[in-house]
C-alpha cells in the first residue's frame, strides 16, 4: 500500500514538534509515507466558515495530487486538516456540487481520489500492540497521563470514524502499548478548547482551555497528551492566559502523543522537538528515565 503524507501548515510552524515526533515515531515503527509534493493549505476553519466550495476546492487539489502520485491512502496528523479533506471527499460525490468545485480548479478532479486518515489510526492499522511494545526501551509506566483529543478528531462521528465520538480511546491504547498504566479517564477529553477563537475572541478560548487544564491538574495528571496542533497551542502557549481566566497559575506539560511514544522508543529529545514546548517536559522525561532505570535494575536484581 502506498501511503501519502499531508503535513498541513502548522507542521511547518507552530507545531514543528508534532511533525518531528510524528516522523520519528513512523520511522521507529517502519511505516513509510511519501509527502504530497506541492500540497497547499486546506483553508482550515476560515475557508469552510466563508464558503464550502472554496474549502472543498483547496482540499480537492491535495486529494488530486495524491491520486496522481499513485497513493492508496493519505495520512495527516492534524484533525482540522483531516476533517476538511474528509468533508471534501464526501461532498464531491454530489454531482452539482462537484461541478461548482471543478469550476474553481485548473483541471477537473479525478473520479477516484484516496481517502485521508489520521496518523494515529494509521499507526494502529499498521502495527499491533506487540509490534509497538517491541520498540519500547523506556516504558511510560508510572506516568499519570490525561488524554485529550479536542473536538474535531472524533466528530462528526459518521465522517471521522474514530470510535465513540465523546469517548475515543485509541490514544490510550497506543500509550498503553508503550507501557502507560496510569491513564486517566478524562471527562473533558473531547470538549472544545476554544479552537481558533484564540485570536479574535481570546476570553472564550482562555476560559475553555482553563477548564481543561484545571481538571487535569485536579486529577493529579503529570501531563496532558494531545493530538491537535491548535489544542496544543491553546493549552501550552496560551497556558498563562488560561490561568488568568481561572484565577490561577498553571504549570503542566502538554505533549503530543507522538512525543510520548517517541520518548518510550528512546528517541532523543531533539528529534522529538521537546525543546519547542513552552512548559518544559523535563520533569516527565526525568520521571520516565528514573522509573524505567529503577525497573530495569529491579529486574536485573531479581535475576541475580
Amino acid at each position: 500500500m502506498k501511503i501519502a503524507y499531508y503535513p498541513g501548515c502548522s507542521a511547518k510552524g507552530s507545531s514543528l514538534d508534532y511533525e518531528l515526533s510524528t516522523q520519528a515515531v513512523l520511522k521507529a515503527l517502519g511505516i513509510q509515507t511519501v509527502e504530497i509534493a506541492d500540497w497547499n493549505c486546506c483553508g482550515s476553519t476560515p475557508a469552510h466558515a466563508v464558503a464550502t466550495d472554496l474549502s472543498t476546492a483547496l482540499c480537492t487539489r491535495n486529494l488530486a495530487l495524491a491520486a496522481r502520485q499513485g497513493a492508496d491512502l493519505i495520512a495527516t496528523s492534524c484533525p482540522s486538516c483531516l476533517s476538511n479533506h474528509k468533508h471534501a471527499h464526501v461532498r464531491m460525490q454530489d454531482p452539482d456540487f462537484r461541478t461548482r468545485v471543478n469550476e474553481l480548479l485548473d483541471e477537473p478532479a479525478p473520479e477516484q481520489m484516496p481517502e485521508m486518515t489520521s496518523v494515529m489510526q494509521l499507526i494502529a492499522q499498521q502495527c499491533d500492540s506487540d509490534q509497538i511494545k517491541s520498540r519500547v526501551t523506556k516504558s511510560l509506566t508510572g506516568i499519570k497521563i490525561a488524554p485529550y483529543y479536542g473536538c474535531l478528531m472524533s466528530r462528526p462521528a459518521e465522517l471521522m470514524q474514530f470510535g465513540d465520538p465523546e469517548n475515543p480511546t485509541l490514544m490510550e491504547s497506543l500509550l498503553a502499548s508503550c507501557g502507560a498504566d496510569d491513564i486517566l479517564d478524562f471527562p473533558l477529553k473531547t470538549e472544545c478548547c476554544g479552537a481558533s477563537a484564540g485570536i479574535p475572541h481570546r476570553p472564550l478560548t482562555a476560559r475553555n482551555s482553563g477548564r481543561i487544564l484545571q481538571l487535569a491538574v485536579n486529577m493529579g495528571a503529570d501531563c496532558i497528551a494531545v493530538c491537535c496542533p491548535l489544542c496544543q497551542m491553546n493549552l501550552d502557549l496560551r497556558q498563562k492566559q488560561a490561568g488568568k481566566a481561572e484565577g490561577t497559575k498553571f504549570n503542566i506539560p502538554v505533549l503530543y502523543f507522538t512525543q510520548l511514544m517517541g520518548i518510550a522508543f528512546g528517541c532523543d529529545a531533539d528529534s522529538l522537538g521537546l525543546n519547542k514546548l513552552c512548559v518544559s517536559a523535563d520533569r516527565i522525561t526525568d520521571k520516565i528515565h528514573a522509573l524505567s532505570t529503577a525497573a530495569k535494575e529491579a529486574a536485573q536484581g531479581g535475576k541475580a
Partner: protein, 195 residues
C-alpha cells in the same frame, strides 16, 4: 403585545425552507429540548442560544437570526449535532446561516470575519497559511495592535511563529492556488455575493 406584533411582522415563511434546502436538515424536528445549548462551549458568548437560533428559523425571523453574533462565534465543534435527540446537524445549520448571512452582507462579529479573511489572504498569496502574516493582516484590518503581543516573546523564542512565510516550493503551484481564489472571487462577483 408589541413583541407579538413584531414577531408576526418579521415572519418570513420562506426562511425555514431556504435553510433546510441549503443545510439538508429538517428544522421542524426541533422541539426545544435545549441539549444543543447545554453542551455548547461557546454559548456563554452568544447573543442567541443555539436552541433559540433553531426556534428563530422556525418562526421565520430571518433578520434576527442572520444578524446574530452567535453564527459567527460558533466554533464548529459539532457537540450540539452529536447530542440532538432529533439528529439535527445544528453545527451544519450554523454554518449554512453564516454563509447566508455573508452572502447578504450581514456580519454579526466583524473581527471574527477579519481574522478569517486575513488567514485566507496568506493562503491565496503563498499557497500555505502563515501565522505572522495572518496576525499582521488581522491587526491592520481590526486595528487591534495589542492582540496576543504577550505571547510573542515566548512564541518567537520557541520558533513557534515562522518569520518567513511557508510558501509552496514550486511557483507554479503557488499560482495554481492563487487561481482557485481568483475564480472563487470572480464567481462571487458574478453571483452578486460577498466573497
Amino acid at each position: 403585545m408589541n413583541e407579538t406584533i413584531d414577531l408576526i411582522r418579521s415572519k418570513d415563511p420562506t426562511f425555514q425552507q431556504e435553510v433546510e434546502a441549503e443545510s439538508g436538515q429538517n428544522i421542524s424536528n426541533c422541539y426545544q429540548c435545549g441539549n444543543c445549548t447545554a453542551g455548547c462551549p461557546a454559548a456563554l458568548d452568544y447573543d442567541m442560544m443555539p436552541n433559540q437560533v433553531m426556534r428563530g428559523i422556525q418562526l421565520g425571523l430571518r433578520d434576527k437570526v442572520l444578524s446574530s453574533q452567535a453564527i459567527y462565534m460558533c466554533l464548529s465543534c459539532s457537540t450540539c449535532s452529536l447530542r440532538c435527540p432529533n439528529s439535527i446537524d445544528i453545527a451544519g445549520v450554523m454554518e449554512t446561516l453564516r454563509h447566508m448571512a455573508r452572502r447578504t452582507n450581514k456580519v454579526g462579529v466583524k473581527r471574527v470575519e477579519k481574522f478569517w479573511l486575513s488567514f485566507l489572504d496568506t493562503v491565496r498569496t503563498f499557497g500555505r497559511s502563515y501565522e505572522i502574516g495572518t496576525m499582521a493582516l488581522y491587526m491592520l484590518r481590526s486595528l487591534r495592535f495589542w492582540t496576543d503581543v504577550d505571547l510573542a516573546p515566548q512564541a518567537l523564542m520557541k520558533q513557534k511563529l515562522g518569520l518567513k512565510p511557508h510558501v509552496i516550493p514550486s511557483k507554479e503551484s503557488v499560482e495554481a492556488v492563487g487561481r482557485i481564489f481568483k475564480r472563487y472571487q470572480e464567481r462571487a462577483k458574478r453571483e452578486g455575493v460577498r466573497p
